[in-house]
């Protein structure tokens, strides 16, 4: 029995599921993103950011914050739908975790390879906001209610372009497998032949994760904290976790779809198995920096402009790019 357990704990499956690219890596990366955002925005505003907790650059500040939220009292408003109010953020924090098993971090660094991994990823991304909409509804309070309506409109406006921007990539690569999509970019990354798709996908991703300038559902100056107003303690932590996990996942997926994934110049003396995740994470970190940087430099756009951008510009652009991709597939590639 003991030998069986040891065998399981040292197996490739367990290492992938538990360590990399599994749950330990995913949770640490989400924590790192929060710290990185705070440091980056502090630099933009000529501040230092987290400093005192942890010897180097306040690295333990986030752990301190997490402990603080875990030890705070969970307050459930008396008017709310109690069960939904508590369960929705927990489900919402858990759902984005299901994106990562389908993401390849290298040719062999994937938990669950699938021929339709692109579709599986999109399915989880599309489902992930629903628990948060329910959470806002369950609050039965006016700020969350207005935030929820805005959240709904934003989702409707950006989910279609996000989906449409994926299609040209699948057409040019001839596959819905993320691994095959990376391998199809060996000669050149798809950003060169599908630039509109890249712009549409990145913009829709930023809107999907409610980052500034698309943070209308949680607009602090107008709606206190929007649909999250009534949440505190660990439930708020789940909401934050879900948002950061999704931002991380979408940055990695954008790198895979348009920036060549794990392909990069060969680094001598370092095994390819280590180089591949390094290049992918470097590319996604650059994208993530851009997404986070927007918060420091851009104001929030109004809802009419947000809807205009989604319905009047991104969808026609995405369709134009599908047409161009179809022409490329039929007559050039």
């Amino acid at each position: 029995m003991l030998s069986e357990i040891i065998k399981l704990l040292t197996s490739e499956e367990f290492i992938k599921a538990a360590v990399f690219p599994g749950i330990t890596f995913v949770m640490l990366y989400a924590l790192f993103t929060v710290w990185y955002e705070r440091k980056l925005l502090a630099r933009v505003a000529l501040r230092i950011g987290p400093l005192h907790v942890g010897k180097i650059a306040g690295v333990f500040q986030l752990i301190a914050d997490a402990v603080k939220l875990l030890t705070k009292e969970v307050i459930v408003p008396s008017k709310s739908y109690r069960l939904l109010f508590v369960a929705s953020p927990i489900i919402g924090g858990f759902t984005p975790l299901l994106i990562f098993p389908f993401i390849p971090f290298g040719e062999n660094w994937i938990i669950y390879p699938s021929n339709v991994s692109l579709l599986l990823v999109f399915a989880v991304v599309a489902v992930s906001p629903i628990p948060f909409l329910v959470a806002a509804w369950a609050s039965r309070s006016k700020y969350p209610f207005i935030g929820m309506l805005r959240f709904g409109f934003q989702l409707f406006a950006y989910e279609v372009p996000l989906f449409l921007a994926m299609i040209p990539v699948a057409m040019v690569a001839g596959s819905l497998d993320l691994k095959a999509i990376v391998l199809a970019q060996e000669k050149f990354p798809f950003i060169l032949i599908l630039p509109f798709s890249f712009i549409v996908f990145l913009t829709s991703s930023i809107a999907e994760v409610e980052r500034i300038p698309f943070d209308i559902p949680t607009a602090e100056q107008e709606l206190v904290a929007g649909w999250t107003t009534e949440y505190s303690g660990v439930l708020l932590e789940f909401i934050q976790l879900g948002a950061y996990l999704k931002a991380d996942a979408l940055a990695i997926i954008t790198s895979i779809l348009f920036l060549g994934g794990w392909s990069g110049p060969n680094i001598p003396f370092i095994p390819l198995e280590l180089q591949q995740p390094f290049w992918l994470m470097l590319k996604s970190l650059i994208l993530l920096s851009f997404i986070l940087f927007l918060r420091g430099v851009y104001p929030r756009i109004t809802i009419d402009r947000l809807l205009d951008l989604g319905w009047r510009m991104l969808i026609p652009l995405a369709l134009l790019n599908i047409f161009i991709a179809a022409l490329l597939v039929v007559y050039v590639l």
């Binding site: 367990f14 949770m27 924090g93 134009l320 597939v329």
Partner: protein, 130 residues
């Protein structure tokens, strides 16, 4: 190497992590819920009494457009997969994509004129002819 086993292990570990995070506050956090704490947020003021009223909101037509575009999106996806599998019907698929692109640009131009607000007319609106 069984990918399914790795996936199951990952899901178990993810559930365990979320469960641990959910249980920790029960052990560590104080539970001193008072009536004052449980009232809805009202920016430090006394909350307004509970009431129900009509809530006019703009941009509802976009919900209808969403349904239309979602269906179109699925059709485009199926067509693009058909294009990959059966290249000899490419001309017809290209024609559909071209028509949809032109249509989307036309709709994009027309959407600005769309009436955004659906609300009950008040007596004052009727007097002003709104």
């Amino acid at each position: 190497m069984s990918p399914l086993l790795a996936f199951i292990l990952y899901v178990i570990l993810a559930v365990a992590t979320v469960a641990l995070m959910s249980i920790l506050p029960i052990i560590l956090a104080p539970w001193k819920g008072t009536i004052k704490k449980k009232v809805l947020f009202e920016c430090g003021q006394t909350p307004l009494p509970w009431r129900e009223e009509a809530f006019p909101y703009e941009y509802f037509p976009y919900l209808i457009i969403y349904v239309a575009y979602a269906v179109v999106g699925i059709l485009i996806f199926i067509s693009s997969m058909v294009l990959i599998e059966t290249p000899y019907i490419a001309d017809r698929v290209l024609l559909i994509f071209g028509a949809l692109t032109v249509g989307a640009f036309f709709i994009g131009l027309q959407l600005r004129e769309l009436k955004q607000k659906i609300t009950r007319q008040t007596q004052e609106d009727q007097r002003q002819g709104v």
